[in-house]
Amino acid sequence: MQGTFAINLARIAIIVAILALWEVLSRTGIINPRLLPSASDTFVTLGDLLQRAAVQKDLMVTAAEVLAAFAMAVPFGAVIGFLVAENRYFADVAKPLLFFAFSIPKSIFLPMFILVFGVGFAQKVGFGFFSTIFIVIMSTTTAVESVKVEHLTVARSYGATPWQTAFRVYLPSMLPVLLEALRISMIFNLTGVILAEMYASRDGIGHQIATWGENFQMKQLLAGVVMVAAIAMTFNELVRWVEARCSHWRT
């Protein structure tokens, strides 16, 4: 525990250093400030943007889409991943197919989603789900494979039901791998939804970001990126908090 303070300090120091570097590079003109507006400018812009009702609404829309997609993709993907890891037959059938699906850039299928869902909430959520599910499946498989056989044997000897085995043995045992997977999935999810918004939309933060990018409004663009990154990081920290609470038994 005595290291926690030092580590937090180091972390803050690194963040400050990165921001300072960003500021200096831009201010001194080592990097053209038109291409990389300074950190301070970006954050001022961010402040302005966040005041705008339109941006707030866009953020809400995006957040709703992201959450909906995530809430569907994670349980669904986890169950499939579980089956793939635990059931030989299912794994033999599905593993290569899932892998191939995973390796194709998802944005190619964006028009398909418009075809099926039209342009709107369902399409964004659908695409977010689609971009996330494969990584969830693959990560869950990895996580399941890290569970020790002996622990499963013990649970079996006590007649644990599948649900009990899942929640009382698999879950705690694979937590570190699983949380890592959650983190990555969230990022995929966010990127997926934003891509879908950039592609075709009426609202959402991705819609705004696309416009800023095409208009060469670097300050707004960077502020938008910071906004999205902040959402993802907040989620990251949330996961880390869970992790810290659950993994204290690891030495």
Binding site: N32, R34, L35, P111, I114, L115, G118, V119, M198, Y199, A200, S201, R202, H207, A210, T211, W212, G213, E214, N215, F216, Q217, Q220, L221
Partner: protein, 296 residues
């Protein structure tokens, strides 16, 4: 009834037209509702219409021709613009290069096969020079130009006005005047839709051309709107107003004299960009709808 309008990118004049129509309640005056969706580019907008997510869109004739080959039956119902207004070939301010000097150099375009690519190809053919077209995406045009990764860039409006105003780049070729007039963009609907709901289409184009009329008549309101929509200073918005909005077609009548030739020229230009199957002009246009601008 609701008409779903598909617009390629936000900071492009069709958005201003459609937004004006909405804000001035022109659609309502026609007794319909409008729903605006913004896509990332012309091709995506076209796909949106093909997927049934948009009823009327703005795109060049070449896409209509390509789409028909792929089983997406649509036609241009109204002529929106007869030139590449605001599109310019630009070099950094400090650069001394002229169009002729670009031979063997690199020129940024947004995407292969896109409008900017067609203009670059036209430049190559027209000026009898050769340069490499580098697709960098809309967001990559100015950064790559300023960073010197490319010697020149084909820039759309109002980005072109913005960077020339800020002194970062200058224009060496203005496509609005350089390219002979051709039908660069029109309002497009699916044949199916036009057959099923001709009234709706008619009302929609009425409102859109009503908006064009309104904008021409109300400079201040429109400049303010552009500034707001594009998040740009009023000076740039004013440039956009003068150089693009004021150049738009006011009647939109596809049956007007010279339209066929303008479409043909547009398709010929597209051939440069790799479009293989060009259809006859009659197949890509429809003269059924003659816009009657909604009055304020």
């Amino acid at each position: 009834d609701t008409i779903r309008v598909g617009l390629p990118t936000k900071t492009y004049w069709p958005t201003t037209v459609a937004e004006t129509a909405v804000r001035q309640k022109l659609f309502e005056k026609e007794g319909i509702q409008a729903e605006l969706t913004i896509y990332r580019s012309g091709a995506e907008t076209f796909e949106g219409m093909a997927a049934g997510a948009a009823d009327i869109i703005l795109d060049p004739p070449s896409l209509v021709s390509a789409g028909r080959k792929k089983g997406v039956m649509s036609r241009i119902v109204a002529n929106a613009a007869m030139g590449n207004f605001g599109w310019q070939l630009m070099v950094p301010t400090k650069s001394t290069l002229d169009v002729k000097d670009l031979n063997g150099k690199k020129v940024a375009i947004t995407a292969a096969g896109s409008g900017s690519d067609l203009l670059a190809l036209w430049t190559i053919q027209d000026k009898k020079i050769d340069f490499t077209r580098v697709p960098v995406g809309g967001g990559g045009l100015v950064p790559n130009l300023l960073a010197g990764n490319v010697e020149a860039a084909v820039v759309y409006s109002p980005l072109s006005f913005q960077i020339s105003k800020s002194g970062e780049a200058k224009t060496i070729l203005d496509y609005a005047s350089a390219v002979p007039p051709n039908l660069t963009a029109g309002w497009i609907v699916l044949d199916k839709f036009a057959d099923a709901k001709p009234q709706l289409v008619q009302k929609a184009v009425n409102a859109l051309y009503g908006a064009v009329g309104f904008m021409r008549a109300n400079r201040d309101v429109t400049v303010k709107l552009i500034a707001e929509l594009y998040e740009m200073p009023p000076e740039i918005a004013a440039l956009e107003y003068d150089n693009t909005i004021m150049m738009l077609e006011t009647s939109g009548d596809m049956g007007a004299a010279g339209v066929n030739a303008a479409v043909q020229l547009s398709l010929d230009l597209a051939k440069l960009g790799g479009l293989k199957d060009i259809l006859p002009v009659e197949d890509v246009i429809s003269t059924k709808f003659k816009p009657v601008p909604t009055q304020q």
